[in-house]
Symmetry: none
Subunit: 211 residues, 4 copies
């Protein structure tokens, strides 16, 4: 391994350390209440160093979302390629969503923050491109499956984008909602069981009643 490669790898490693630290802090306190100094402390680095890897606080936060979005897109892609029925694929999506939620329960708050009015236009071109790419990948794959299902006469005849949105948004809403209730109730597993019921309901809702 050449010296250039080693440096590159070190840089990558350092970057990931920061991301990990940021995830921990942002997850527990939200965007506003988290400070760069706190994240630096968690990463065992100085505040100044953070700015060598990320343009600003906003971008660091956004990168977390991209990270999770990429993970989501990758997993969804895998499901798409599996040799199973569309119905089974929709069911598999449920598992993907639950896995991602387990990895980072604050993901959706981040994703919504991303597109909310609070997000300034401070993001660099590169970051914006990534968001769009992964977003299209993830949504596109879901839309494709829905389309297939409609073509096969398995799903109801509605606008595929709308159905995909419903799938995606219901999932998001449930995680957000149940997660916010969890803060008060301490019922950790209720999120997952509700998610399962939700998917059952929605799948049943999209399916065409065949006789």
């Amino acid at each position: 391994m050449g010296i250039f490669e080693r440096k590159q790898r070190e840089k990558e490693y350092r970057r990931n350390e920061i991301i990990r630290a940021a995830r921990k802090i942002f997850s527990s306190k939200g965007f506003t209440a988290s400070s760069m100094e706190e994240i630096a402390l968690q990463a065992e680095l100085s505040p100044g160093t953070l700015y060598l890897y990320f343009k600003n606080k906003e971008e660091l936060h956004t990168v977390l979302s991209i990270d999770i979005l990429k993970r989501l897109a990758d997993e969804i892609q895998k499901v798409v390629k599996e040799d199973i029925s569309v119905e089974e694929k929709i069911e598999r999506f449920r598992d993907v969503f639950i896995e991602v939620y387990d990895y980072d329960s604050s993901i959706l708050i981040n994703l919504f923050h991303l597109q909310s009015g609070e997000t300034l236009k401070n993001l660099s071109e590169e970051v914006l491109t990534q968001i769009k790419t992964y977003s299209i990948m993830a949504h596109g794959a879901i839309i494709d499956i829905i389309k297939q299902g409609i073509d096969q006469g398995v799903f109801i005849d509605e606008h595929p984008v709308a159905l995909a949105d419903i799938l995606w948004a219901s999932y998001s809403g449930i995680v957000l909602w149940v997660d916010s209730k969890r803060l008060l109730n301490d019922e950790k597993d209720f999120v997952r069981s509700t998610l399962r019921t939700a998917f059952k309901v929605i799948l049943k809702g999209i399916k065409k009643n065949q006789l």
Copy 2:
């Protein structure tokens, strides 16, 4: 009208002016990015005056959510009392949700903010009580309808709270999600049409298949 009444009414009017200004600012910029000075400017008042009517920024923001929550609870209550089938009631909820969304599209971001970890315990006792009251009213009514439906053998045999959560959360998720897309797409009516499809899907999903 006595002098006391006039004063009371003026005070109420002023309070509403502030709420209206706050709604405008908070809606367009979110909680953190909005400043009290900006809200005061919008209300054509001085910053200090805001604090005569609201304890602090947090409480002013919360009051917006309460306002909308009250509206939601009231409308839901009305639906509950209507002399129609449970299925039709669920359908009517859809309209209520859409109406409320039309009144203030940022409602749900507020409601989620309300229960997120970022919300400090700066709220006065009165405000907290109101939140709880209206929250219970709105959720309780929905749960009751679901229960009725299950008892009548119209809805599937699942935990009523879970089904109510799914209904509520899906709605919330869709509004949040489609609304955040709207910021980019400018397709205003897409929200409503997607909401309609979503309700059709979910209603179908909850219904027991009777033969």
Copy 3:
């Protein structure tokens, strides 16, 4: 009683109400932490009314000191006229001081505040004149007694003003000091017993040792 007199008396009464309220608030919270609104509330008046009777917060506070200073001056004058020895007069001063301390334990903090750097030059001419008048009355009387004592060969040959200052300042210091300790110790009567010892010591210190 004419209508003018009645009004005059009402005015005086109202003024005293404010002073009483101010004393209560200032005593328990100090000058800075007390607000005009709080004083108005205590006096069952509106904030605006306070400004009809007193130029500003500073002056209202000052008037409390004047009130106590006047009381002190009056009592001291009485002692001066009593037909007793100078030594006995000094002893009587001790009682006067203790009585005044009982009436308002925060008196000296007020008096010091009066002449500290924090006191702005916001005081009206009338108020300043009063302070000077009563100050001179009180101090002058003490100085006179000391002088008499020196002339009679009872007290040591030192500058009478210095001796009077020592008497006055020691008393003040002890009240302040022990009072500040009281806040922690809750030993209420220790102030008075220490004051008594202090006077004994000082009197002994001033007396010429006669053989």
Copy 4:
């Protein structure tokens, strides 16, 4: 000198700069009327920097008192160890007090502020501990001397704590009082000469009349 040491020293230097600036401002205007911005200006630093060295305004102010209290305690300790009679020690205290007064004439106002009800509980644990430590050191030493004097039959039979309080409080009162007169009279040296007389008087007052 290593790089760490240099940095440490720089930091210490900066801290002292702030303390010096704060002393100047606080001395001339009192606690409330002084603003952090003004102190920063005086120290040729930005307001934010002050908060890197001191938790808040209250603590910065308190540190001034600690500084002076430490100085007082140190000097008193030295006197205690000197090989002179108790009477001479009391006399030496007088010089210590005068020296400290020369160093910072506003010391006592600060010390009283410290223990007054206005002082909030905003102080850090470390600072509170220091105050207690030095306070006990200084008072304890004086009490010890008094005790010795009583045991040796040189001082009168009174509660040693009371006598120490009288000594301490008289000194404080005189400085405060004469200093406040100075503000009007501009007689600078009068403080010291009065202090000298005061100590003579008090010493004579505490001494047992031996024949």
